[in-house]
């Protein structure tokens, strides 16, 4: 599994264009908006925005690290070739999740570095550590979401499906727009999404507030549901077709 993970990461990193695209957008937004004055939820704009952009970047990286590639490689037949090797289903899933998790780290580090220097964000080491931990672990449901999309869509449509999903998650989850300013119906939908809960956890971690158990439970439930769908799709494709 380690060999497979190393192989997957190496070849994904080679696709530098993809990494730069993923990084550029949140970094750019941060640079544009971080200098605004004001506070909200006990956080400065620079800190608040660090969490928003890190959540956005984490969701995007986690999904794009595996999804579209998986969709293309299901289509071109590579996945069939891999299925007739001794790699186990469990090993494959574990490696794919690890791949997605590891690929969110560059974006996260870039945003933290930017916040600490350019944004003059001052966070105690403990808070910063907790924030990073929350953002990394909180990306797990989005890794599973990327796999689900990669297993449900074909090579052409997976990219679009991911982009739409990502934007819905970001807007309704309160990352680009304040959640409380959304229309009521959208608030209800937004509050059910994993992005909303991850952002809440992130802001709480940064502000030094206690982490909400509801938020953690919601992310765990999303992870379980999405992983279940991914495994089901995988099995379905390996036997029925």
């Amino acid at each position: 599994m380690i060999a497979f993970l190393r192989f997957e990461i190496l070849r994904t990193l080679r696709n530098a264009r993809f990494l730069i695209m993923l990084l550029a957008f949140p970094v750019l937004l941060y640079v544009i908006y971080a200098k605004q004055h004001g506070t909200s939820q006990g956080l400065t704009v620079a800190s608040l925005l660090l969490v928003s952009m890190a959540v956005y970047s984490g969701m995007g990286s986690a999904m794009f690290a595996s999804g579209p590639q998986l969709a293309r490689e299901r289509q071109n037949g590579w996945m069939r070739q891999l299925r007739i090797s001794p790699i186990s289903t469990r090993g494959w899933f574990a490696a794919k999740l690890a791949q997605s998790i590891l690929l969110i780290i560059p974006g996260l580090l870039a945003l933290v570095a930017l916040a600490l220097t350019y944004g003059h964000v001052h966070l105690a080491a403990g808070r910063l550590g907790l924030l990073v931990l929350v953002l990394v672990l909180g990306a797990i449901p989005f890794c599973a979401l990327g796999l689900v999309i990669g297993l449900m869509f074909d090579g052409q449509t997976a990219q679009v499906a991911q982009m739409i999903t990502l934007l819905v998650l970001a807007f309704l989850g309160g990352i680009f727009i304040q959640w409380s300013s959304l229309p009521h119906a959208m608030q209800l939908i937004g509050k059910a999404l994993p992005s909303y809960h991850l952002a809440q956890l992130g802001w709480n971690a940064a502000a030094g507030h206690a982490l909400g158990m509801t938020d953690i439970a919601a992310l765990a439930a999303w992870t379980a549901a999405l992983a279940g769908i991914a495994v089901w799709r995988w099995r379905q494709e390996s036997t029925a077709a």
């Binding site: 060999a3 497979f4 192989f7 190496l10 070849r11 994904t12 080679r14 696709n15 590639q69 293309r72 490689e73 071109n76 037949g77 590579w78 069939r80 070739q81 299925r83 007739i84 090797s85 001794p86 790699i87 186990s88 390996s238 036997t239 029925a240 077709a241």
Partner: protein, 320 residues
């Protein structure tokens, strides 16, 4: 030099296998065959005959609707997990961004290093392109890399599903040389193709399948004897089937009014003899020789052909 195999179980048991897809397509229709260890067998048939479905079933990629499939005495999925079989599936692309050496290195590790990197590169003839990225490979190179992956586990049984489709003549020749080396070392090889010449040149046995059924199973010489059959069509006034059936090479004659269709195993002998009869033969056409024709010959030229549709038409077939 053949590897000693104490295990006497057949390499493949394929018994009465049916695969029906959703939507009513029956890809395999009670197909049966067995393959012994050490054989090199071609699965020959036109596109859509069920070859890929059969191979996918033996690789555990598809589950048959009914029937029994065993490879090396095991359920296919178990043989895959144990790393005992290797395969090149029909649409089997390579992962983007990877280098050839990394890809082969990965497969070596998945099979716990049963073959060295250098040996695999050598066996598949990809030593010179090891540093390339898979996107830069030609069709022939891609297939050889996939061949290396299929060999990584030192498989006892190797499945190749139309491995040379889309390759040029030179790449094709090179590829089959590599397969031959592996087969000579004792690996059982089953490959699918829709080229009769490819099956003839590279297999010691050919299993012909069409519409999911096994039509013929024998040596290339046996199969080719059927495919040498030509169809001779012509018109002549009041043709006499029994006279025509007496011509050299003719195996079967059907008459519809003035129109005569003969099947001949040796058209070169039949034609002079036909003209020698002095009949006013017109509109003579000789056709056949392709795989499709061969399949028609295999399905209808077995001596049981007896369609008789009306007063003015008759069919006669030589016994045996």
């Amino acid at each position: 030099m053949k590897t000693e195999n104490l295990d006497s179980r057949p390499a493949v048991v394929f018994r009465d296998v049916v695969k029906a897809y959703h939507g009513g397509v029956t890809a395999l229709d009670h197909a049966s065959f067995e393959i012994a260890r050490g054989e090199t067998v071609a699965l020959l048939g036109p596109n859509g005959a069920g070859k890929s479905t059969a191979i996918d079933t033996m690789l555990g990629l598809r589950t048959p609707t009914s029937g029994e499939v065993r490879v090396l005495g095991m359920v296919p999925a178990d043989a895959v997990r144990a790393g005992k079989i290797g395969g090149m599936v029909q649409t089997g692309g390579l992962p983007e961004g990877a280098k050839v050496s990394e890809l082969i290195g990965l497969f070596r590790q998945l099979y716990r290093g049963r073959r060295s990197q250098a040996e695999l590169l050598e066996l598949a003839g990809v030593t010179e392109i090891a540093a390339r990225r898979v996107e830069q490979l030609s069709g022939g190179q891609t297939q050889r890399v996939r061949f290396a992956l299929a060999l990584a586990g030192r498989p006892e049984l190797l499945f190749l599903d139309e491995p040379t489709t889309a390759l040029d003549v030179e790449a094709r020749r090179h590829f089959w040389q590599l397969v031959q080396t592996i087969a000579e070392r004792g690996t059982t090889v089953l490959f699918a193709t829709h080229y009769l010449d490819e099956a003839d040149a590279n297999a010691s046995r050919i299993i012909v399948i069409s519409r999911g059924r096994v039509l013929a199973d024998g040596t290339p010489a046996h199969i080719k004897a059927h495919t040498a059959t030509r169809t001779i069509r012509s018109t002549m006034p009041a043709p006499d089937p029994s006279l025509l059936l007496g011509l050299p090479g003719v195996t079967d004659v059907s008459v519809h009014g003035d129109a005569v269709t003969m099947r001949s195993a040796d058209a070169d002998a039949t034609l002079p003899a036909l003209y020698a009869l002095g009949l006013p033969v017109r509109g003579l056409e000789v056709g056949g020789g392709g795989l499709e024709e061969a399949l028609v010959a295999l399905t209808t030229g077995d001596g049981r052909h007896s369609s008789d549709d009306g007063d003015h038409s008759s069919v006669m077939t030589k016994a045996g």
